[in-house]
Symmetry: C2
Amino acid sequence: MTEIPTTTRQIVLASRPTGAPTSDNFRLETVDLPELDEGQVLVRNEVMSVDPYMRGRMNDVKSYVPPFQVDAPLDGGAVGEVIASRSDDVAVGQHVLHGAGWREHAVLPARSVRAVDTDAAPASRYLGLLGLTGLTAYVGLTAVAEMREGDTVFVSGAAGAVGQAAGQIAKALGAEKVIGSAGSANKVARVLELGYDEAFDYKETPVRDGLRAAAPDGIDVYFDNVGGDHLEAAIDSLTTFGRVAMCGAISQYNATGAAAGPSNLFQAIGKGLTLRGFIVGQYDHLAEEYRARATGWLADGLLTGDETFRDGIDAAPLAFMDLLDGANTGKMLVRL
Amino acid sequence: MTEIPTTTRQIVLASRPTGAPTSDNFRLETVDLPELDEGQVLVRNEVMSVDPYMRGRMNDVKSYVPPFQVDAPLDGGAVGEVIASRSDDVAVGQHVLHGAGWREHAVLPARSVRAVDTDAAPASRYLGLLGLTGLTAYVGLTAVAEMREGDTVFVSGAAGAVGQAAGQIAKALGAEKVIGSAGSANKVARVLELGYDEAFDYKETPVRDGLRAAAPDGIDVYFDNVGGDHLEAAIDSLTTFGRVAMCGAISQYNATGAAAGPSNLFQAIGKGLTLRGFIVGQYDHLAEEYRARATGWLADGLLTGDETFRDGIDAAPLAFMDLLDGANTGKMLVRL
């Protein structure tokens, strides 16, 4: 029988970053675990997700999710095994998906965890292609950008977790051509292997030039993970009634001042462009539909994705800093 | 019988403006009128429209409408009487709407003019509320911003032709509250008379402050005629799933450099905002629907609009310069 721990290690926000986060902004600490109340479960986390959007929550500003609190643990998606349960709905031994990552063990209400089948797919996939990463790519293309068969689609951050998924899903949905930008020659090579039709290294080629070469007739859809000059170049390149899914702006996450918006935004008037922002939580109603399609695409080999693993709870802060630097290819994860 | 003229006076673009246009950029000239070919009509223009979007066409840049050519006549919407016809479809004496303003007489293919009933409404209305001005307001609210009953709607340039129409149409469509910004105390007073629930003078009150006071709980829809700091303040104020109809950016039309985009555009991600640009020509399919509804609203007194008239073809350039300066209330027109 598994020994039931009475403490857990967790990562807390030691101070708010100014600009790029440093190790000083994080602290590893050990805290007591509470006794289980009726309806609660104790989960031993096995793998946790590290995501760019967390940077925004480290600032003390009102946003779509509340900011992290200083001296409180960070959180994020995780999959683990239930090792104690006071709920009839969740059995010991079950693997579950939940939102209390950044710690080795978590006490949670049974109703806040979702059972996952780790025989059908590795635990990490439920944080990636079968989880919010894949769903983000899917809803961005479908509900947000209203992608149509035959569209030319541009995805920035193409080698990131969402970017890898978006390119492949766009092809699966019938895109005529999918173009990606990424931050190194190796990443460019990798996204081409994954099914992107064209890709360029934005550190070597200005985005406008890369786009013009890859899509001389323009693009219909832009899936924006980056913001900044990527968004501006995409606006130049979009055709009439072109659509932008604004998913992320990683180029600006560490900015200490207000970043200028795209200076060519007025082009949206004449070209009838639509720019629509989203966070995946606004599209929960599409999760079932996505899981069904993604399961098929995975089985058919149309959808896959790289995973970059770091090991141990103490590796999580550096994993996050590296993610913001683009050190990952595909999904950044920490094994616990 | 009307004497048939053999010449016409017209305004040509003498040179391209840099920044705000001046009289030097325009020239009044007299040219010969061609003999009518089969299928053509000769129209004596009675009233012509003066519109902000023309400023963009004075630059030598590719846009959604081709640029004006130096030494060629300007054009724009006009209504006039047919005084000679070589078409069975259009009779002498008929009033018609067409695109060859900025001249006193025009020779046109009969198929490019549309008959209007000047007994039912004055000729100028077919350039304004019953024409592209009203249609612009209507499609911006409906098809572009997807306004719903109960929405709080903000309209910039509320005292302009499109702005006056947009506020009243928003109310007719069931908006809970309609807020306007305008550039003088008199304009503010006027838009309140026309049915706006709240209005403020953006030259006296920063847009953010005016919006916060008028809509403490935020806005659902922003109808943007202005761009610049108006758009930025609106993005701050928009609620989750808020929508922007980008119709114009008059604050930037005379800019000589690239204007910075809204520095808070990233808020579109968390709030799930949609910014959609449009020009009315993209929504021709809604013209019939609009005319039917507008006719009813006019009859019911729900929709009216001011008209600022200038007299004589030689007054047209100054009318245009004044329009860009905001000297008009409602529709700017030149009687010929």
